[in-house]
Structure formats: structure tokens, C-alpha cells
């Protein structure tokens, strides 16, 4: 699909279908890197495309490829979901993706979820960092700021920023290696 056609996904079913088929697998993989429940993943996949239809008119091809734009939407959708209260979760969705799942679909979604386990642990590990450490890590790693700039941004001393960054990295390294180790460690421990 031509990127300039993207706004038409909002009202042209053929254009929408081309767009959907091109991206549905990537969206599902994106979602399961963040959630591990097949039913919720199905709901969120539906939500992402609904949100894309709603936002299609604001797409500008000179600002990025459709896939990047769609991932931006997916992030918002998934993040919003994590902030919903239990009551909100029961609110009616426009399309309940989970109702469209059948047994085989659940198995396939579960395959995706299993394949994304490591990515989910990385996200989870970052989210468990203390606020101050996470802020430093994100500004350095995602926003590409220097440690000195981060200190200015956060109103902390440069040495504090450096220490937090060091701690955050160490924590992540430890958590991720802990999570990766059981499959390796258990057989060795079990050996006589």
C-alpha cells in the first residue's frame, strides 16, 4: 500500500484491508511483547486498528512510514490499557477481539506470547527500577542525553546521575541474567 493512501483506511474498506493484512502480524507481535494474555492481546489488536482508523486522517507520509506510525498508536493503546482500572476494563469495547478467538487462534496467540517472553522480561525489568534510576536510564538510553544533561533535566548532581545509571544497568543485567539462567542452571544442579 502506498503511504499516501493511508488516510483512506478510515473510509475505504479495500484500502483498509491492504493496510490491515500488511500489519496485523506485526501488531500482534508488538502487543505480545507487552502483554501475556491471549485474550487481552486479541482485544488490544482490535483496539490498535480501531485507533488507527480514527487517527488515519492525521497521518503524514513525510513524517514516517505507516508501520512506525502504527507502532506509535500501538504503544499508546497498550499503555492506556495498563492504566485502566478494573472497572474500566469491563467497559464495552467497540470490538471485543477476544470474542473472535477460537481454540486454534488462542494457541497461535500463545505461540507468539511464548516467543516474546524475553522482550517482556526486559520491559518488566525496566518498569521495576526505582523512579529515579529509570528516569536516568531512559533519558540516556532512549532520549540520547548525556549524563550531564540528564542531571540538569532531573535537577540532580552529575555524580548522582552517574550512580543511578550504573545501578540501573547493574540491576537490569542481574535481573535479565537471573531470568535467563534457570534453563541452564537446573540441569547442572541436578547432575550428580
Amino acid at each position: 500500500m502506498n503511504a499516501d493512501d493511508l488516510p483512506r483506511i478510515a473510509h475505504d474498506t479495500a484500502v483498509f484491508e491492504a493496510f490491515y493484512r500488511e500489519h496485523v502480524e506485526a501488531v500482534q507481535r508488538f502487543v505480545v511483547r507487552r502483554v501475556d494474555d491471549p485474550h487481552l492481546a486479541a482485544d488490544l489488536t482490535a483496539e490498535v486498528f480501531l485507533a488507527a482508523v480514527d487517527a488515519a486522517g492525521s497521518y503524514r507520509s513525510d513524517r514516517g512510514a505507516p508501520a512506525a506510525w502504527l507502532f506509535g498508536i500501538a504503544r499508546i493503546v497498550v499503555a492506556s490499557e495498563s492504566r485502566r482500572s478494573a472497572r474500566e476494563r469491563h467497559a464495552v469495547r467497540r470490538i471485543e477481539g477476544r470474542r473472535l478467538l477460537e481454540t486454534d487462534d488462542i494457541a497461535r496467540m500463545q505461540d507468539r506470547i511464548d516467543a516474546a517472553a524475553r522482550a517482556r522480561s526486559l520491559f518488566a525489568a525496566v518498569s521495576r527500577l526505582p523512579d529515579g534510576e529509570r528516569a536516568v536510564l531512559e533519558l540516556v538510553a532512549l532520549d540520547d542525553l548525556s549524563v550531564a544533561d540528564v542531571a540538569v533535566v532531573l535537577g540532580i548532581r552529575p555524580v548522582t546521575a552517574r550512580v543511578r545509571l550504573h545501578r540501573a544497568r547493574a540491576t537490569l543485567r542481574r535481573q535479565l541474567s537471573d531470568e535467563g539462567s534457570p534453563t541452564l542452571a537446573q540441569p547442572m544442579e541436578a547432575a550428580p
Partner: protein
């Protein structure tokens, strides 16, 4: 990644496609004159932006979400007024670091992030302590992580279509407006920003119409910018 025989694909995906196409089919096509023009979308876009504003202002006293679009050649312009205010006009989400540097040079402790999604919006384990803390202050009010400049009695939040900045600049933290050409403009009084606070400018979806601006007080998580807007239909 999925160990799936392609021939067995197309179940959930096809059913979902069918449902989505029903939604698309119900959307009226834009009138020919509106095709390609900026206002072709706005009804929904505005709803997104407004619901975002509600979210953000829940905790962010001086947060404003701009609804606009389009763009012109210069990505941004920063001006200091004789009264000591700093006016920023954003036409296009390019050169975040350049704008950040300019704002800081003008006395505004800015953090500009045009990445299409605040990093802390990422869902970790839902309800997990970290995930909640990252956005709690800006959204649910359940946590103290983000507080915004001044307090209810000090901050103002505006989102208007091209109107002039309000006159109550004495208490003003910032104002925003949307120009007819789709650029977003906001005015900040650097003196109204507490020592150590940061002014965050971020986009939730990578377009000018999703810009969010907030003041975050010293010591709070600068990356916990309002995660707006939520998907529509809620």
C-alpha cells in the same frame, strides 16, 4: 516467530478484519473538497486531544494538549517577549534537541521529546509497582511521581484555537494555542517555573496535534509525561 502453518492462518485475523471493515464502512467518506486538507480528520482527532487533556490535567496542573496539524518550513521558532515571556511556535516535530537547546538558552528548563510515545507509557506488568509509578501522577492520581508547577491556585491551562494568550500572566505558567495554519504555539513565563522544575514537551503519536506540555516539579520523574491520548471509543 509463530510456528504456524500459513494455510491455517486467517481465523482470528479474518474475523477481526471483517469487524473492522464494518466499522470502516460506516465512516462517511470525506467530502471531495476536504480530501487532503487538514481538517479532514479533526472530529475524532479533537476528541483524542481533548480526552488527553483531561487525563493530563488530572495531575498536571499546567498541562495543555494542542489540537492542530499541518506544518510549514521552519520546525519551530522561539521568541522572548519584552515582558520576559517566552513564546514557542512548533510547526513540525523535527529537531527536538535543537528546540530544547533554544528553550534552555531562553531560560526555560525544557525537555523536548518527539519520540512518538513517552517511554514510560510502555506497559510493563499491568499494575506492577514500577509500571504504575511511571505514569501514576499524570493519569490516575494514585501516585506522587508527577506534580506540576505551582498548584491549582497558580497554574492555568488553556487550549484554544488561535486566541491570544490570556492576560493573567502574573500567575501564568503557560498558555497554548493552535493557529489556523496548524502550528502549535505556547507561551511560558520562565519566572513562574519553580527552581528545578522542567517543562516537558512531548508527542504521544508523533504529530503536532498530539503535543502535550507539562511542568514537572523538581525531583519528580521527568520522563513520566502525560501519556496521552488514549485510544478513542472509551
Amino acid at each position: 516467530m509463530t510456528m504456524t502453518d500459513p494455510s491455517t492462518q486467517a481465523r482470528f485475523e479474518d474475523r477481526l478484519l471483517e469487524r473492522l471493515q464494518a466499522v470502516v464502512a460506516q465512516s462517511p467518506a470525506p467530502s471531495p473538497s476536504a480530501v487532503g486538507a487538514r481538517p479532514a480528520v479533526p472530529r475524532r482527532a479533537r476528541r483524542l486531544a481533548l480526552s488527553g487533556a483531561g487525563l493530563a490535567t488530572a495531575a498536571a496542573v499546567a498541562t495543555a494538549v494542542l489540537a492542530s496539524g499541518g506544518g510549514t518550513s521552519a520546525a519551530y521558532a522561539v521568541q522572548s517577549t519584552p515582558a520576559g515571556l517566552v513564546t514557542v511556535r512548533i510547526n513540525d516535530l523535527r529537531d527536538a534537541r535543537g528546540l530544547q537547546a533554544k528553550l534552555r538558552a531562553a531560560g526555560v528548563p525544557a525537555v523536548v521529546d518527539y519520540v512518538a510515545h513517552p517511554p514510560t507509557c510502555t506497559a510493563g506488568a499491568p499494575g506492577g509497582p514500577g509500571a504504575g509509578a511511571a505514569v501514576a501522577g499524570a493519569t490516575t492520581g494514585g501516585g506522587p511521581s508527577t506534580t506540576v508547577g505551582g498548584g491549582p491556585e497558580r497554574g492555568t491551562s488553556r487550549s484554544s484555537a488561535g486566541g491570544p494568550p490570556p492576560a493573567d500572566a502574573g500567575k501564568l505558567t503557560m498558555t497554548t494555542s493552535m493557529a489556523a495554519d496548524g502550528s502549535a504555539t505556547f507561551t511560558v513565563d520562565p519566572d513562574s517555573i519553580e527552581q528545578g522544575s522542567r517543562v516537558l514537551i512531548a508527542s504521544s503519536s508523533g504529530t503536532v496535534d498530539s503535543l502535550a506540555i507539562a511542568v514537572v516539579r523538581a525531583g519528580h520523574d521527568a520522563s513520566a509525561l502525560p501519556c496521552v491520548p488514549p485510544p478513542p471509543g472509551r
